[in-house]
Symmetry: C2
Subunit: 292 residues, 2 copies
């Protein structure tokens, strides 16, 4: 480990699966962490995490481990963060920093104000954009965040130094860090992530309920395959994300339904020009976009 100036003597990870485990492995590989202690609800995942060298120890007492931690990562499902925050809040030290790996930020920030109370200034919210078809400690990789984006959504209560320190932790994992407000974050991800997931689930669900679904699926090809890849995502996770980002997502679904109606009308009116105009702009924009 390097000095505490640029590193962390002790990191505590809540949830040692893909997101938390990869964070720990990446910090280790960057040589910026001393000891890593893990907590979690699954004893099996914790044992695996220890066996894989993701964590040094399985934590026993939250109060004790949190008290002298330099950095705490909350990598549990978003729905569990409020309760977890209220458990750790009384024990967070003056120099400890807290960050998280949640896919939505408005709800996590609200939970932080409600549960971290006077320690809320220690919490710099983060969302690592690392697609997770797999999950669990076995899926954790030191390079999961390399070349990926992490969005941090600092609070007015955060100090510049603390924001910088959390930023550097994610950068040490290989990520590029951007800053948005929690509201901006949730609006952006409603449009480019949550809506597409919902649309993909909707298409497959609609087909799944038909009597001739096997016939239909037997002729589905590569376009269908790619369009519906995300419909194989975790139902529980996407239920929670949808509800956590409900307002922004409702707005997006409404917008999309309006867009779809424009296309429906163009088709109904045999408006070839309008259809080509819509498809052309989409092709132009999609064709010149490359994923980060």
């Amino acid at each position: 480990m390097r000095g505490t100036e640029s590193g962390f003597k002790k990191v505590v990870i809540f949830g040692t699966g893909l997101i938390g485990g990869s964070f720990a492995l990446a910090l280790r590989r960057a040589g910026v962490v001393g000891e890593v202690v893990g907590f979690g609800r699954s004893a099996k995942t914790l044992e695996q995490a220890r066996g894989l060298g993701i964590i040094d120890r399985i934590g026993q007492d939250v109060a004790i481990e949190v008290a002298n931690a330099d950095l705490i990562l909350l990598a549990t499902p978003v729905g569990q963060m409020g309760e977890l925050m209220s458990r750790i809040a009384p024990h967070i030290g003056l120099h400890a920093l807290v960050t998280d790996g949640g896919s939505t930020k408005g709800d996590v920030v609200a939970a932080a104000y409600a549960n971290l109370k006077d320690k809320v200034s220690r919490f710099i919210p983060a969302h690592p954009i690392a697609g997770a078809e797999q999950s669990g400690a076995l899926a954790a990789r030191a390079d999961l965040y390399v070349g990926k984006k992490v969005v941090i959504t600092p609070l007015p209560e955060n100090s510049k130094d603390d924001i910088l320190r959390v930023r550097k932790a994610w950068e040490a994992c290989g990520a590029t860090v951007s800053e948005l407000t929690a509201r901006q974050h949730d609006e952006v991800f409603a449009a480019v992530s949550h809506l597409p997931h919902l649309l993909s689930f909707a298409l497959v669900h609609d087909i799944a309920e038909r009597e001739n679904r096997d016939l239909l699926l037997s002729f589905a090809a590569s376009g269908f395959r790619d369009f519906t890849r995300i419909a194989a995502s975790s139902p529980e996770m996407w239920r929670d994300i949808s509800l956590a980002n409900r307002e922004a997502l409702l707005h997006e679904v409404k917008r999309y339904a309006d867009e779809l109606y424009v296309i429906y009308q163009a088709l109904e009116n045999n408006d070839a020009e309008k259809l080509e105009e819509i498809f052309s702009l989409a092709r132009e924009v999609r064709g010149s976009w490359t994923p980060q």
Copy 2:
């Protein structure tokens, strides 16, 4: 070339791009074709096709070349097929077979009845399901159809022997051939191909028209990438397919809008159970489906 029993002495290809060129190359590789003559609107594509060994000769006179052809493939854009059919109809010999590579079948069949007239019995419509991100003679490959599906939609006027012979031609290309009616075909592909394309175009178009589109796209990740891959497809081709399969596609868009409204309501009502139920069925069906 094998004997005429199982092969074709002379094949004429209209449109020597990806679909037509690959058909010619595949028949050659299978050793079931003598001479291949190509026609097309682009002199450059025809020259490339000859240079690449896709065709032996560039045709000069449609009447002469069609008169003694054993097999004729119509691989032009669907919108041009009616006119082409009326040009070749008077010259089609008694033993010549005609097939096509169009993505929609109802409109092609209607064009055949209108333009092939008393030669309509020679036409066995086909749709090779071979995704085409690329196009042109340079993209043609002898193995394009290997392991792919080809749907033929025979007409009541076709003889069993002729259907079998066209089936065997596509099978010689390495494809698995299925039979549907033209109407069934168009309904199936509206659901599993045309609708997803339209939905993908719609999402990108909606984002493309926003002031903050660059910000949005800068945070789009792998889910968005796969969902929108088909939004980079040819606008002209998809305009034509949408209009050609208008009735079935309108029905699908309406169905989908209803499905989306159910999800919108579940979200509006914070109905976690309903959302999870929808996402779970989608995941189950998508997870157990594998593309052919």
